[in-house]
């Protein structure tokens, strides 16, 4: 009897988590999947099994353009996040010697999270707007004669907003990976005559890869579904899949929105799987 209790114990311990997981994650996603085959008429949806919504999406120029646009944002945001996170983390992990200063500087990286998303978005206007600080500086320095318009309500602004928001999700895991690198490895490499660049290439980058992979998963999934930043920073003029879905939900076209959500989920899963294939993040956990 005692033995069977021992066998059951782990299952029982996992049960609450599993139930919550099933109820609040798996079940809703299944519902979305089911609804994506339903029909709708502007105010109501009727259970059915039709591929119309999917055909609609795959045959439309707009969805194609919107998906491409979303991938463009993902690529740019991911690339910039990596480009910023690597030197920042390197500096924090290897150049700062005192632990207290390191913690302080790391906390500084969280500043973007100290205010609400909406407030942050609004405060870009006085900075980047036509009469904003940047434009005033450029005009006063006589660098431009007309205010620069593409600073706000443009792809530039969208990417800037998202990098600003999500960079920390890349910095944190990369920094974590770098901190775990055994310093004696570097000393050994140096002793054997490796240059600074070779240390970076042969030791630091490979050992940081799992952190980059985890950061990439965060950044890619967050950017794929992004719609608030796209709407506010793009001035409503730019499209992303998330924004497309939100317009469709706003117009009560749930089945179409569901179909888009399923496709978006698939794309995201493919990308995450791809990342996991390239890098073994088990090492990190």
């Amino acid at each position: 009897m005692y033995k069977s209790w021992k066998v059951l114990q782990p299952y029982l311990l996992a049960t609450p988590q599993t139930l919550i997981f099933l109820m609040f994650l798996v079940f809703p996603i299944l519902m979305i999947f089911v609804v994506s085959f339903w029909q709708f008429n502007g105010y109501a949806m009727t259970p059915a099994f039709t591929f119309e919504n999917y055909v609609n999406i795959f045959s439309s120029q707009v969805s194609l353009a919107t998906y491409l646009n979303t991938f463009k944002y993902v690529t740019l945001v991911w690339g910039l996040c990596v480009a910023i996170a690597l030197p920042v983390s390197y500096y924090l992990a290897f150049c700062i010697k005192r632990e207290s200063i390191r913690v302080l500087l790391f906390l500084l990286c969280t500043i973007p999270f100290w205010t609400s998303n909406i407030i942050r978005m609004i405060s870009w206007i006085p900075l980047l707007g036509r009469e904003g600080l940047v434009n005033q500086a450029l005009l006063n320095l006589n660098l431009v004669q007309q205010p620069v318009e593409w600073l706000l309500y443009s792809d530039f602004a969208i990417v800037l907003g998202m990098v600003h928001l999500y960079n920390f999700f890349m910095i944190a895991p990369v920094f974590n990976s770098m901190m775990r690198i055994d310093r004696t490895l570097i000393t050994a490499a140096r002793d054997m005559g490796a240059s600074g660049f070779e240390v970076l290439k042969e030791i630091i980058l490979p050992l940081t890869a799992p952190g980059m992979a985890i950061g990439s998963i965060f950044v890619v999934t967050l950017t794929m579904g992004e719609y608030v930043t796209v709407r506010l920073m793009g001035g409503g003029q730019a499209a992303s899949i998330g924004k497309l879905i939100s317009t469709q939900i706003g117009s009560l076209q749930y089945p179409l929105a569901a179909a888009n959500a399923v496709i978006l989920l698939l794309f995201t899963l493919v990308m995450v799987t791809g990342i996991l294939r390239v890098v073994d993040i088990q090492k990190e956990l």
Binding site: S4, W5, V62, A65, E131, Y153, G236, T247, L252
Partner: protein
Amino acid sequence: MPKFTRRRLLQTGLATGAALATARCGTPNNPAPGPEVNTNSIKDVTLRFIGTGVAQINDIRDKAQEDLGFKIELKALSTEENNQIAITQPGQYDMFDGEYFSLPLVIPSGNLQAIDVKRIKSFDKIASFFTTGDFNGLPVETAQGTAPIKVMYLSDQNSSEFSATPTDWATLIPFQYNADTLGYRPDLVDKEITSWADLFDPAFNGKTSILDIPSIGIMDAALVVEAAGLMTFGDKGNMTREEIDQITEILIEKKREGQFRAFWKTFDESVNLMSSGEVVLQSMWSPAVTAVKAQGIECVYAPLKEGYRAWGGGIGMSAALEGAKLDAAYAYMDWLLDGWVGAFLGRQGYYSAVPENAKKFMSAEEWDFWYEGKPAAVDMVDPFGKTLEKAGAVRDGGSFEERMGNVVVWNSTMDEQVYLVQKWNEFIAA
């Protein structure tokens, strides 16, 4: 050693499950159905409202609770969320505070019940374009779009068909509405804006905006392209697929030319765009103009020669209301038309469904300014104590009759709504 066996575990598990299942049947929101005891006093009632921000104001709720004696809960939502909840979550509200153009979507859901107009005291005094469709022979009588009169009445109590002629069964009791137009910054625009076509004026390239809500945005866009002579419509309020294709094409072309600075979706976005100078000319709602002015920035709500786009909001009752709650709902609607709310909203520039009742609660100077289009004899102060207009100012567009009489379209839900949203997305994504 604990006395657990598989059998025992199974028994306990099943018992717990059964107990949980039984308990769930009696959650507070879902009381066990039983004979209704009809001694409920109206005082014990709580009416739950959903609506857009305009009238979901605590001051109105507090006054209503004080005057009527029952409780009111407000939930302020965006236009889109409001429709969604009205259609998909009937259990969440007792009273629907929505717009007339939502009705072609909400009524077929069967979630609202017909309002017996005989029980509404001031029904006959409601502005006539709501109740009969007439208004002194002015253009509003033939306005296109989802004009309230087209969706005001149901053919009978249990019908979900709209009646073209007045019946005793109403869908919504109106209480606020307005005529919308373009707003502009006279300090940044060097000419007077007199036509919707000015939105496409190359002089304002990169400095205009329209709103990104399909049912409303498309009507503004239609007024613009028609005024600019770019295309004509059979009925702007109910476009054909070809017309939707054509107007989207024009809009996309203008977007590519860089005519628009941004699109806005919420009231505060439009205020930010205008007050920051990012946009100098855009479609706007009247309280947004007021909000810009309140920051000390000049903003004109331009009367245009083609006329206005109007919207109308009213109160509908959930199909589930009965007994004391139903009585409370009727009491609320009578109170709503009685004038206090009309005056409250009037001081922000909205019109009341029964102007003559609102007049009783407004000062003569307020009435003259907001409804008669006369110069303000004293400073105009809104219900929250903010000065909106200095003495001597005149309301843009003039009197009630001049403004509401010149409405040429109402916000619309078209037969081709699904297609419209699809094309609208195309425009946004282009």
